[in-house]
Symmetry: C2
Subunit: 390 residues, 2 copies
């Protein structure tokens, strides 16, 4: 079987789905790898390096799609701006596509992809804490980068310094939403010498926050079933969020930097930082909203943009992992490879309905959206058992 | 006596010469402080805060100059682009100006300032390791910011991470020139988890480098009188620099980030990183050239700009301290205040030729450039003793 790596085509996307060092792992399992010329350039991986590791460089994009039994991408077609739509005619039934398919995104694009007949596996649907969990890999990098970006934007420095010109007090950073990204943001801000506190609706987060040397912000309100079986925060009622906002206001105002990372899979992000809270922050403060892609945790966030309101810089940049494309591609390639090696047996793709990983990640097959969670999200009826396993 | 703080007028300059918290220290010594409206805004200090601490806000720039016996600035008139020239008519004999006057900069502007009759003290000429040493304060912040900026630009992350998707190797950072800025760059890159090495022509730097947990790069060449009485590196012959470049090439190529901070007061910065060395770096690497203002330590640096050559991003931004204006202004205000309190006795400016601090920093008086070091730099004859002390 042949695995194909086209160039990414989203504006500003610098990652690549596979890196040269990983190719021998695939070759050993009987898979060949073809790469569109220049696919790794922006991530720092040159065509020659792919060739040296046994990959085959193809000059034309269409050739990659023609040759590949399995196409691997970072960002697949699936946003509202139609980027990648031109690739749809390249797909054929019995071909497989693996990548970020944004299964809880635009309904229309999901149907368009399904209609190509291509079998798709969405990495966002991967069960967690696996060597294949690309969402966690990218969140780790986004959390790191959020803290670095904040440090680069703040008109103050992070560490406490004692100099001949007196003492400089350390920066104060608040992290809201302590998932993988939030934890890495805490660790990075701490590394840089800031005083860090963090808040999460899940009580389980407290221990992790404390273990990183940060303070846990306790609000005297209780969330119902704060955590789902996958370890993600669950959505709460509007009354809960209203009370939470009221109590969070003081914590926000007391910090120079607020990094929000409260994302609920398949849902619009809850607004945790209101415009009133932003107005109470010291001018020059910085908010990095890692939930910007799903509407943002800050009321004033503009997706994909950096704006200044009430003297506060609000960074709503999407896809921070793509700004460290070298390591993001390396981690993603490892995640993908672990997944492919799980999926491919004896040189053939062997889908196994009984395997949680296969079952949870399968998104479309035979012209249909088959994933149970996604069908529920789209309001589609449950599929009959024989259709799912077909 | 009245101390006046005008708005800074260099494009992009966000610092301010005095901050509200320092005003009471001046008031206690019998000095009043007047501030041009909005002078502290970009640094994060509001007019109301100045008023609350006893400062007087004046709406017009000209009023500040009219009222002030001592004008304090960050960047005084003195660059080639004529910014600040419009202030020259405001100055009068028996008025004093303290700030960054770039005494080893453009000859013409120095003569123009002298011709105003204003008495000027240049903070760059301050003897080192004093609470008044603004050059060290700003270098500390520039070194911190260089590392943060590099981290924000690099397509990799700095720390080593061990994740479910395997291990990420740490970033490799080389610091060339280990003065105050270089040391802070080492400390900051280390905080972020990078593997750091450093090189300096002064053997005395080795111990400092090691104490920060970095490796010292030893080149088998010897510098003559590597350090002057003030602790700054001295200029070496062209043959020395040629050999140094030859040996540094491997160290440069082995790192993802090179931060250069080899500045020699009053001289053009030595070229330490040639274009051939840049070409040998891995694409995606980053150079931050803290010597950009004096020609740069990297041959390809373009002053004030960020460029990409051979896939390497070369940052030649001037004045990095101004990007953390809150703390830069705080430190600078403390430096200035310590200096003013040293200069003012019983509510009057008391110049004392015998005081090293007074003597070394005095730049112009009675229409003349009087500083011995600067006269030497400009090729002017030594002043007669009676003229100096007049």
């Amino acid at each position: 079987m042949i695995v194909g790596v086209p160039c990414e085509n989203y504006p500003g996307e610098r990652r690549v789905a596979l890196v040269p060092a990983i190719i021998p792992n695939l070759t050993k399992a009987g898979l060949e790898v073809v790469i569109e010329a220049g696919a790794g350039t922006y991530a720092g991986y040159l065509d020659d390096e792919y060739s040296a590791k046994g990959g085959k460089i193809l000059p034309e994009r269409a050739e990659v799609f023609r040759a590949a039994d399995i196409v691997v991408q970072v960002l697949c077609y699936g946003s509202n701006d139609r980027t990648g739509q031109a690739d749809l005619p390249h797909f054929r039934p019995n071909q497989t596509l693996v990548g970020f398919l944004r299964p809880f995104g635009a309904r229309e694009t999901l149907h368009e992809i399904a209609a190509c007949g291509v079998t798709t596996f969405s990495v966002e649907l991967m069960p967690r804490t696996q060597s294949m969990d690309a969402l966690s890999s990218m969140a780790t990098l986004a959390g790191y980068k959020a803290a670095v970006l904040a440090a680069d934007t703040l008109p103050r420095i992070f560490p406490m310094l004692t100099t001949a010109a007196g003492t400089i007090t350390p920066g104060r950073v608040l992290i809201i939403g302590v998932g993988v990204a939030g934890l890495q943001a805490i660790a990075t801000a701490r590394r840089l010498g800031a005083v860090v506190s963090a808040y999460d609706v899940r009580p389980a987060a407290k221990e992790q926050v404390l273990s990183l040397g940060a303070r846990f912000v306790e609000l005297p309100i209780e969330a119902k079933d704060a955590q789902d079986a996958r370890g993600y925060a669950t959505a709460q009622g509007e009354e809960f969020y209203r009370k939470q906002r009221e109590l969070l206001g003081d914590a926000v105002a007391a910090n120079d930097i607020v990094i929000t990372a409260a994302v609920i899979p398949g849902k619009k992000s809850p607004v945790l930082v209101t415009k009133e809270m932003v107005a109470r922050m010291v001018p020059g403060s910085v908010i990095v909203d890692l939930a910007a892609e799903r509407g943002g945790n800050c009321e004033l966030t503009r997706g994909g943009e950096t704006i200044v309101e009430h003297g506060v810089t609000i960074i709503g940049q999407f896809n921070l992992a793509s700004t460290v494309p070298y390591h993001a591609s390396q981690m993603y390639a490892r995640n993908l490879t672990a997944f492919l090696l799980n999926l491919v047996k004896d040189g053939n793709l062997q889908f196994n309905e009984a395997d949680e990983i296969h079952r949870e990640t399968l998104l479309t097959r035979n012209g249909e959206i088959v994933n149970a969670r996604v069908r529920e999200y789209l309001g589609l009826p449950e599929l009959a058992a024989e259709s799912k396993g077909a």
